[in-house]
Amino acid sequence: MATFPLALTAILGKPLAYLIFLLIGFAFGFVLESSGFAHSPKLAAQFYFKDMTVLKVMFTGIIVAMVLIFASTALGWLDYRLIWVNPTYLWPGIVGGLIMGVGFIIGGFCPGTSLTALATLKLDGVFFVLGAFFGIFAFGETVETFTVWWHSSYMGRFTLPQLFGVETGWVVLGVVLMALFMFWGSEQLEKIFGGQDPKQAPKWRYYGAGALVVVALAIVMMGQPTTADRWAKIAPEKNFELDARTYQIEPIELLHTMHDHKLNLIMLDVRDEADYNMFHIMDAERISTEEIHNRIDEFIAEPANTVFVVMSNDEANATEVWKTLVAESVHNVYILGGGVNGWLDNFASDFEADFCGDVKTASNDELRYNFSAALGASCPAAYPPIEDYEEVEYSPKIQLELKRAPASGGCG
């Protein structure tokens, strides 16, 4: 798995991690001020086509960062799964954006630029920041009246490659080309409305544009890592640990985990529907192997105290699903050792015995118990009484690993 991003707080401790955020903010403010963003008439000129600095700086920033990010993920240095991607709430975002557009042209700043205006003692910036405080305050006081709408049109972590159904690389290339076209258009508009001569602009911008296109093409060629690629990178280490049975927990440990209210336990039953209907552990969710891929983002977004336990009849299918989840950066994933068969070996009561004939000789990963009726979870073994098993000893294997994916973005 890729090394970056880092779990900063876990590695460095809070003060040092905060220092890094302080430095990033410093660089951000420095660049904004250096580009002229503390000077409101320069920002407003964007909307009269006289000076397109806002668009140029912003879109250059976006495409440079985007190209670097997706080149890093393609090379396997950076894990896109663990990067914060703003979740999409479509309509609140659009309406909020329109309101901000109004604020931009009236007030002459956006929140980030107003901070640099404040820092350089521009009084219009100071009044803008005070106004922004008032607006934020007003929102906190009124959001309750439309909270349902504010949470509507939620699409989760939804990206442009998913929207268009194309490879990430093509979207990266498309965005770069679109931005370059906008830059060309901006320079034409500045010529007409702002009396600026594009020939005065430095020649190196053409080389920069060329370099961005070349790297974007390279991203298209490389492609983003697939689950198989991601697994291949960690396979030597993880296969060794699987052989050492590091992640296969005993049924009794799962039973104890079910009763541990400090943990958010998610049990994934990857057997077919027929077996699941015959018998499953209470609260285990049936999920097909194909469906797993659509649920990864959701699993990564679960709180840090979440433990996943994957189960099949024995261990073969569960191990395959485990590999997918681990390769896709889901944390704290375990396998029910011995599978559902093993579970029943431990916990089947007389009640289940009445419904079962002789234990079958089953091939690998088949249900050995021969149920004569579909019991589902309506039997004692689906939720064994823990009191009866308090004394059973086992070697605990579940260790909570620190979560690396950010839980909120820059606006929380």
Binding site: G25, F28, M100, A119, G140, C411
Partner: protein, 189 residues
């Protein structure tokens, strides 16, 4: 490296606090490239992008929590940040906001641009500019919370990592500003 684009016309320069020679702004493509590198490093190292309105939000909630802690504890939107013993300032985004102010100051000071002044269009008074800045800021603050992010946290950061919502948001911001620009042109020209 630092192509002088223009020497910005100053409004009422009340006091010159630091007498350093005023320098021009960076070329926008240079500024944009460095902004992109900063944004990339933020994502690469921390997994987070950049942000500004989140920091302002938490600073405000901190004040609210000092003034009316009971009210904060009863408002669901505020509890997440400052309910009970939670300190709303204990967040990376606040650090980033403080850093942004410091970075803006140092950049402005180095180039002789730290001056107590009001920048405005030629046809409005200073007081009108202040009032408009406050009103515009109010819209910005409200809109940024509604959209769950501002130009930095949504448009710039979400745009670079290809979030659909962030791109829709970005076009809405430009759309809103362009739609109104003609009607408020007196403010700027």
């Amino acid at each position: 490296m630092t192509t002088s684009v223009e020497t910005p016309k100053r409004g009422q320069s009340l006091t010159n606090i630091f007498k350093r020679p005023t320098k021009g702004y960076w070329n926008p493509y240079l500024g944009g490239t460095l902004l992109g590198v900063v944004l990339f490093l933020a994502f690469f190292i921390t997994g987070q992008g950049l942000g500004a309105s989140g920091g302002l939000n938490r600073i405000l909630v901190w004040v609210e929590d000092l003034v009316a802690p009971g009210h904060v504890d009863r408002t669901p939107y505020l509890i997440d940040m400052a309910g009970g013993d939670l300190n709303p300032l204990d967040s990376w985004i606040v650090m980033m906001t403080v850093g942004t102010i410091a970075g803006g100051f140092v950049s402005g000071w180095l180039r002789g641009r730290v001056k107590l002044e009001t920048n405005k269009g030629p046809n409005i008074s200073v007081r009108t500019r202040w009032a408009m800045a406050f009103i515009g800021g109010g819209f910005m603050g409200y809109g940024a919370r509604l959209a769950r992010g501002c130009t930095s946290g949504q448009a710039l950061s979400g745009g670079a990592v290809l979030s659909v919502g962030s791109w829709a948001f970005m076009f809405a911001v430009f759309g809103g500003a362009y739609a109104l620009a003609y009607f408020v042109r007196k403010l700027w020209y």
